[in-house]
Symmetry: C2
């Protein structure tokens, strides 16, 4: 990538360039792996649900992730990539994230489903601004709210109403989730050159982000995270 420029966009390679194609495969592989591991974790959290209705709602969230996974793997195949190979680099880091943030009860799992997945989705939506229209559309589809955010908010607020001490513990939990997400993102960034090149505008036509824009992106992620914590009734 030493012939590709920085955020200015002047020396970027176009969408038809193999280096851009490699970056898109890395992005879709990351998204597909995110969906698969999110499915595993939501499914396993089902055992924490206090009622069969709650379990059915969490199972529906898990099933939505599988629909996304299937779409992403189909696209990888269309692009001539091997979906398994594209997903493999992210398995360990995403597993580690989930092991380190295994919820100890139903409320922690709800906060994780809403806050943890929310910040991930926001980040992927930002990346979608840097890719070709077809990929952008697919990423937007995969990042659509699966309609279950409201479920988490309602249940967590009701839990806090019943036991106000819950708010302090869950606020700490929300902060820990973000800290872990950040630390795992850095591991991904250190390993995946093409993805970073995409973010920094070294590949792809619309240009990437310069340092100011990266700062603004972090600001937007933080702001929507704060909104979500507030909606849950938690101190951000």
């Amino acid at each position: 990538m030493d012939d590709a420029g920085g955020g200015s966009g002047e020396e970027r390679v176009p969408w038809t360039d193999p280096r851009y194609q490699a970056a898109v495969v890395e992005l879709l592989g990351l998204l597909a792996c995110t969906e698969l591991i999110a499915f595993e974790r939501l499914a396993s959290d089902c055992t924490l649900a206090p009622t069969l209705g709650d379990e059915a709602a969490l199972a529906a969230m898990a099933a939505a992730r599988v629909r996304h996974l299937t779409r992403l793997r189909e696209r990888l195949t269309v692009l001539g990539a091997d979906p398994d190979a594209a997903m493999t680099p992210y398995v360990t880091v995403l597993h580690d994230f989930h092991v380190k943030t295994a919820p100890s009860d139903w409320f922690e799992s709800l906060v994780k489903a809403y806050v943890g997945d929310g910040i991930g989705t926001d980040f992927y939506r930002e990346l979608a601004q840097l890719v070709d229209p077809d990929t952008r559309e697919l990423v937007a589809e995969v990042c659509e709210d699966t309609g279950h955010a409201e479920f988490a908010v309602t249940k967590v607020r009701a839990g806090i109403a019943t036991d106000p001490r819950l708010a302090g513990r869950l606020a700490l939990w929300g902060r820990r989730l973000v800290g872990e997400a950040l630390s795992q993102s850095q591991r991904v960034a250190a390993d995946r050159d093409a993805l970073v090149a995409l973010l920094l505008g070294q590949v792809g036509e619309p240009g990437g982000l310069d340092l100011t824009e990266l700062g603004q992106l972090m600001g937007r992620l933080t702001a929507t995270h704060t909104d979500r914590m507030t909606r849950l009734g938690l101190q951000p």
Copy 2:
């Protein structure tokens, strides 16, 4: 139910009768619980998958069960029943079945997904013949092959081609699954009067089964089970 007749149908209560409605709620509750527990088990078996592609395929099977679960719970609500209450009586017996038949490897989980769920689905399809058209249509929809039978057959046959000793172990496993399914069905039958009344034609218009017909039903279940084992390359 002492005013309801046997298989002859002459003294049966009609579909509008509250006793018939109770039987339909029991049936839909059983189906919904079957789908939820099948989802849990398929999702947890995902960790046995040898490749990410295999895991994605099993995850898609799990997600299909959640779609069925959602449809069944919606219908229970439309019928004025509480979906959780309708599902609750079956949780223990279905959990017990899955604990007693926890697969020890990927191939056992595939055989279970195909053979175990197959025999359950066949039985529910038979019950569907005894209910009103709306319920029949929903049961048929839920029993549709989720398109993954072929996946199990291909993978198991390939496994046996690589390691022929697998065939003997999996054949025993298939027989154990049927034995456990039968024993758990008897527990359900002993507990759920309305379901049994439906099967024996004591409620509902189209009439239930007499002893000869019950025997024929068992014969049909056995025949399709044998077909499935043969397709897998296993001695039934």
